[in-house]
Amino acid sequence: MATAVSARSLVKRFGRREVLHGVDFEVEAGTVFGVIGPNGAGKTTTMRCLLDIIRPTAGEVRVLGTDPRTGGPELRRRIGYLPGELFLEGRVTGRKLLAHYQAISGPVPPGRINELADRLGLDLDRHTRKLSKGNKQKLGLVQAFMHQPELLVLDEPTGGLDPLVQQEFHAMVREAKHRGQTIFLSSHVLSEVQQTADTVAILRDGRIITVESVEGLREGAVRRVRLTTHGIAAHDAVALLSGVPGVGQVQVLEADGAVTLSAVLEGAIQPLIRMLGSLELTDLVLDEPDLEEAVLKMYAVPREDAR
């Protein structure tokens, strides 16, 4: 498969402060690539390098087969960009602002702007500076998606959006992917990208510490378990649960009459299910794998070459 975006040993220094210390990654065309990392990890800097808004100090960047330094307007017309912090000022309606961006983007199919605005529930006739943060973000999404670019670079795309609109955004990302577009998006939390991304890169302190498929992250992640049972003494229940492979941090939440326990599970769920069959359960909660926690652990891993 073709590569849509790649970076090799990407270094960016602002004065004496080095923000990116040699970032390497590759994004396959037609996939969704999520970059997550804490604030200040270098996500925005990396994205700005892809659009030639800032210039790398060293290393090589290729976007849609071209170096962004030399790609010029022709390359940027094939990209849709949503900046991390979107400022839209001025006494101008959303419609007029989008018409302006349309004039400096790739060709926009007729009716596309209205269709996107309807999907996101955005009123195009209001002045942009009177829009709430969420509505400004919708306007930013419309201008990024409207010309159906080959590559979408979206910096914290769901910031300020309510959950329903976030769902719509995820649908838009999936549709774009089915159309063959490549999506490069960032977030400081995993939950935003795990629903749509095929691959997740974790960036910390200007370095990629891991590139992993979402499936892979899921396998390494932990789930929370909570169960309520009766007809068994609390310490027996604890012993049973602790005996299951992968279970840890068993706690007794309630012990008078019904027994309520909580624990975390790492790895396969089959052994746990088998054990649960021997109990008289009145309640069971098995959470989705907490990828967030898995990622936070990775954030906390000390840098191997800490100076």
Partner: protein, 266 residues
């Protein structure tokens, strides 16, 4: 691109309210000052009063020629209030064009689209130029209209030359603001640079005229280049006009080169 000069059109049309506001201010200045000439500038009493003022003060305010119609228009409208209003408008637009846009975070999104940085600077400088020319044209027309009724007796050819210098002077401050804004990415620095060009130019002129010892200051004053020979009275010094407009063009070119070289929004 489905329309020509999209950045120019946005910069020009999105500020029509501000352009209209400055036009109203300049019109008010013309209508306030010029009709008063027969009762103030031209009267013998006024001349006596001006003669009674310290010579340094009349020189600093350019009031030494206020007794003639063209001298009155030169000193009051072109040299003082009109100069002030035009300079503020031009500097504000110049500082906002690139530096202000970058500081507010909007330049980043524009540059992520299918535009070149040089194009951004040139189209926005063109929008600045057009607005300054429009306002100057308005002043030209208003003075021409008030010429007869206010008994100013200004030669239209001299008025035209003075207007070209008036526009050039404002443009120099405005492009200085645009250039420093583009180099630093800060609106405030642009405003400071534009204001410095205008204020220092005015002060160097006022001080330089006081004595031969400090006459060299006049050479550093764009205000003096433009108005040293009172163009409304005597006709334009076209070489000075060339300097003002040429330097403005050079500052725009410098802005384009500087923006092309550096990181934006970093």
């Amino acid at each position: 691109m489905n329309a020509t000069l999209p950045l120019f059109r946005r910069a020009f049309f999105d500020t029509w309210r501000s352009t209209l506001g400055w036009a109203a201010g300049l019109a008010a200045a013309a209508f306030l000052y010029l009709p008063l000439y027969p009762s103030i500038g031209g009267s013998a009493q006024m001349q006596d009063m001006i003669d009674a003022l310290p010579a340094e003060m009349t020189k600093a305010l350019n009031y030494d020629q206020i007794a003639t119609g063209p001298g009155y228009a030169q000193a009051t409208l072109f040299g003082l209030l009109g100069f002030l209003l035009m300079t503020i408008a031009s500097v504000a637009w110049g500082a906002a064009a690139v530096g202000g846009d970058e500081e507010s975070g909007q330049l980043e999104l524009t540059l992520a689209h299918g535009v070149r940085r040089v194009q951004v600077v040139l189209e926005r400088a063109m929008a600045l130029l057009l607005r300054v020319v429009l306002l100057s044209g308005l002043v030209f027309v208003l003075v021409l209209v008030l010429n007869e009724p206010s008994q100013l007796g200004i030669e239209p050819a001299n008025l035209f030359g003075a207007t070209v210098l008036f526009a050039g002077l404002a443009l120099l401050s405005g492009t200085a603001a645009l250039c420093v804004g583009a180099v630093t990415g800060r609106k405030t620095y642009g405003l400071a640079a534009g204001a410095a060009v205008a204020v220092l130019g005015y002060v160097f002129n006022a001080v330089g005229r006081q004595s031969p010892d400090v006459e060299w200051l006049l050479n550093l004053s764009p205000y003096h280049w433009a108005y040293g020979n009172s163009p409304v009275v005597n006709g334009a010094d076209w070489a000075a006009a060339g300097w003002l407009w040429g330097l403005s063009a050079a500052l725009v070119a410098l802005a384009a080169v500087a923006l092309e070289q550096r990181d934006v929004g970093a």
